[in-house]
Symmetry: C2
Subunit: 224 residues, 2 copies
């Protein structure tokens, strides 16, 4: 694969490969648990191993790859237990983010969030089966709220690390959940609490929302 040769300002080859690899890993194009061959990948992107390793090390920092000295990089393996760990951490962090969002979000940000929800609702109404878009839209919603919290650390931990892992799990385990309608309703209530600047309620609703998702996952685990 040829990386775009047009010299974009401030965007390095390693940046491009990093983003592309991240997408391929998240979407399951590169399988979980599989080992990455540096010579092979470098040849694929037509770059040197140096710049490839630059991209790989950043993917490790994002939690998508694991590295062992003298052995190499592997895509992180997804255990159900680790997925539940992520949900529990999200419950804690996003509850906090939602409380902060209720205090800090501007009216314009809230309007954008409402608009996002409306678009997702239309999608869901139109094409009933496409839970795919709904699930991706769910993360968009959470993404906006975390951004609205204004807490840079939360933004880094959630938007730049955990959310990619969550998306990875969804692609891996399939994402057709029966929670679409209910999730939409929950999102609506959360926005209302944010608009009312009721941080306490916003936190509770968000925690409950994520907790319900976790239980939904647990239920489906047991049936397997």
């Amino acid at each position: 694969m040829q990386i775009s040769t047009t010299t974009s300002p401030g965007i390095t080859r390693a940046d491009t490969v990093f983003t592309d690899l991240r997408q391929r890993i998240v979407e399951g194009d590169i399988l979980t648990g599989s080992k990455l061959s540096e010579p092979e990948l470098a040849k694929y992107y037509d770059i040197s191993r140096s710049t490839l390793r630059d991209a790989l090390s950043r993917l490790e920092g994002s939690g998508l790859l694991q590295r062992k000295a003298n052995i190499g990089y592997r895509v992180v393996t997804l255990s159900t237990e680790q997925l539940l760990e992520i949900f529990r951490v999200r419950e804690s962090l996003e509850g906090m983010a939602c409380r902060l969002a209720a205090q800090n979000m501007t009216s314009k940000q809230i309007e954008d969030l409402k608009h996002l929800l409306e678009v997702h609702n239309q999608y869901e109404s139109l094409q009933q089966g496409e839970a795919y878009i709904q699930e991706e839209g769910d993360l968009d919603f959470h993404f906006c709220i975390v951004m609205g919290s204004g807490n840079k650390l939360l933004i880094r931990l959630l938007c730049e690390e955990l959310y990619f892992l969550v998306r990875m799990y969804r692609y891996q385990f399939g994402m057709a959940s029966p929670r679409a309608k209910r999730a939409f309703s929950e999102h609506h209530h959360i926005i209302q609490a944010i608009e009312d600047q009721d941080g306490e309620l916003a936190e509770i609703l968000m925690r409950r929302h994520i907790s319900a998702s976790r239980k939904n996952v647990e239920k489906r685990m047991n049936t397997l």
Copy 2:
């Protein structure tokens, strides 16, 4: 500076430099906000730029360095607002960790934790002025509890990222706090709750403990 030339198994040169640089950054030997010159550092450690960059990219993943394309790495700058952000995130994550610890810690782990607290208490009794050790010991305490939670994600986020940032702040801003005696007492109560397997109380106490530390920081900020 010469890196140890004895070929340790599974430990690469980049590993050694990574650990050493991390310590130098945390302890303020390399100033916050300062730019890192790759040629200079490579010469200092007597290694090539490639292995140095390997170490630097990992430090970026730890949140200690920031990188801009074509410009280079800088040590992260510490604003008081960001420090407070860390405390708020810790309050959330460590509260959760403490609740899990109350459910999961083995009796041996609890004994070790008690022993740790006893040692710290003796240090404090003996040398009154050495708040230095007390503060480092405080993080040891928190470290043990997070490890005892058994949640690998929490361990990664707290023990491998945030705690190094916290230590960095303490070195930077000085760490002589008047909370030594009170903190010891709070630690004692937290252990008791863990031993009683009272997760709910353990979480509340831990959150209160960290919240008090944060307020202590805020108070000292205002006096500056």
